[in-house]
């Protein structure tokens, strides 16, 4: 009997430790695991290194985690949003370090981390300031940069349906970073709108096989950043 379901978001993030590397899924609000992030704020872990494409909006979700000053470093492709000053303030004050990574390099570094590949070459960012300090190497007459695989201690991911073996399917463009992040994290935690029994997801349509997922939690009616921001919510 295998059952990866936990009963609360608090339980799901119980062992995130100070200094942990935490990948957080989502592209904008699509796929942002807000309930898990809020549980992590409540849990209190600090000095986190967060890997995420964005920095959240308003003062909820990822932006709230940043605002609570739990994140000492963020590895990110696009840390700007129209409606949040949280990250810009932290960045300018030097409280949060930024490692800026091109989006495709970020996605591939995460997949590589999950796939046991410590390094790979990419043409992205050759000749730009983001190549500074990186090995540049020619293959077949073209230049490429060496990029390193990225792993994490934890990943917080939003799925649509999970089974208790950890198999996950996603909703539309909320899929985004979920599958590679599940691969790259020692403990991948997935909140899903529905948790079902093994066999209820057709094995042909599983997107993230259960081997990549350690915990699932049902959040039947998850919040959306845009709704919370529009309602003026600030977490906690």
């Amino acid at each position: 009997m295998i059952d990866k379901q936990v009963s609360s978001a608090a339980e799901a993030v119980r062992d995130v430790f100070d200094g942990a590397v935490v990948m957080v899924g989502g592209f904008g609000e699509a796929g942002s695991p807000i309930e898990l992030i809020h549980a992590l704020i409540d849990q209190g872990a600090k000095d986190l290194t967060v890997v995420s494409n964005n920095t959240g909006s308003g003062e909820v979700g990822l932006a709230a985690l940043l605002k609570a000053e739990r994140v000492s470093k963020i590895i990110c492709s696009f840390p700007r949003t129209a409606n949040s000053t949280v990250f810009p303030d932290l960045y300018r004050s030097g409280k949060t370090e930024l490692e800026l990574v091109p989006q495709g390099t970020l996605a591939e570094r995460i997949r590589a981390g999950g796939a046991g590949i410590p390094g790979f070459y990419t043409p992205a960012a050759v000749g730009t300031p983001l190549a500074d300090g990186k090995e540049c190497r020619e293959f077949d007459g073209q230049e490429y940069l060496l990029e390193r695989g990225l792993k994490a201690d934890f990943a917080l991911i939003k799925g649509q349906i999970a089974d208790t073996h950890g198999n996950i399917i996603y909703n539309k463009t909320a899929r985004n970073f979920g599958p590679p992040m599940a691969m790259a994290a020692k403990v991948a935690i997935v909140q899903a709108n529905q948790v079902v029994s093994p066999g209820q997801i057709d094995p042909e349509i599983v997107v993230t096989p259960g081997i990549f997922v350690q915990r699932v939690i049902e959040i039947a009616d998850p919040a959306f950043e845009s709704e919370l921001v529009a309602a003026g919510v600030s977490y906690p």
Partner: protein, 224 residues
């Protein structure tokens, strides 16, 4: 430098006309990634009889137009984080697969805005390099490095009248030697081994007018 040149919006193509002009040059069946802003307008002007398939790097191929108001799904968005739809024949996929499409040369065309383009095809479109700016690059560096053809669509000059087509970019680069063609309000210009090659002037615009507003030599259309 043409610091006191007139605003380029007075003559030449409007943003819509630029987008319409660019759309003529996209072959039927192309896989296309459109950047945020003016590039997005291109989709509105695809000539009758051509079908393009739109890729958005956040995980959708076969992106359709915006939904009717009130029918958006916050989990069906484009790279600009706006609500979109999925056409018949669409596919969803994760970010690593999405950028495999980009990096692997599977996208036929991407259309981007620009802050500067150099005569060697260097693009700067992500940062002014200002010390207090929040750096944010998104997928631009991956797109220009991987997509088969990269078109820029932009006003010929900045709002302050500075040329955006330059000898050498002063802003931090997005990519080196990556641009194939530039569509501006004033002209269509190719990047060639010899630099900026005029392809076509906008209606009512003459060569001298464009050259004055271009920060490097512009090669005239050869008499044939």
């Amino acid at each position: 430098m043409t610091h006191n040149a007139p605003q380029t919006s007075i003559i030449g193509r409007s943003r819509q006309e630029m987008a319409r002009r660019l759309a003529q040059d996209i072959a039927n069946g192309s896989y296309v990634n459109l950047g945020i802003g003016i590039p997005e307008l291109v989709a509105r002007f695809v000539p009758e009889g051509r079908t393009l398939i739109y890729h958005t790097e956040n995980g959708l191929l076969g992106m359709g137009p915006s939904p009717n108001p009130g029918h958006g799904d916050p989990e069906l968005i484009n790279a600009g984080k706006r609500h979109v739809t999925a056409n018949p024949g669409a596919a969803f996929f994760h970010h690593a697969d999405s950028f495999a499409m980009i990096r692997g040369g599977h996208i036929d065309l991407c259309v981007l805005g620009a802050m500067q383009v150099s005569k060697d095809g260097d693009l700067a479109n992500w940062s002014t390099g200002a010390p207090d700016a929040i750096p944010a690059v998104g997928g631009a560096m991956d797109l220009v490095a991987g997509v088969k053809s990269v078109f820029v669509i932009t006003q010929h000059c900045t709002k302050g009248g500075e040329p955006k087509l330059v000898e050498s970019c002063t802003y931090p680069l997005t990519g080196r030697g990556v641009i194939d063609r530039i569509y501006t309000d004033l002209a269509v210009i190719d990047i060639t081994a010899d630099g900026f090659q005029l392809v076509e002037l906008s209606p009512g615009v003459d060569f001298e007018y464009v050259q004055e507003r271009t920060g490097a030599d512009l090669l005239p259309i050869a008499n044939t």
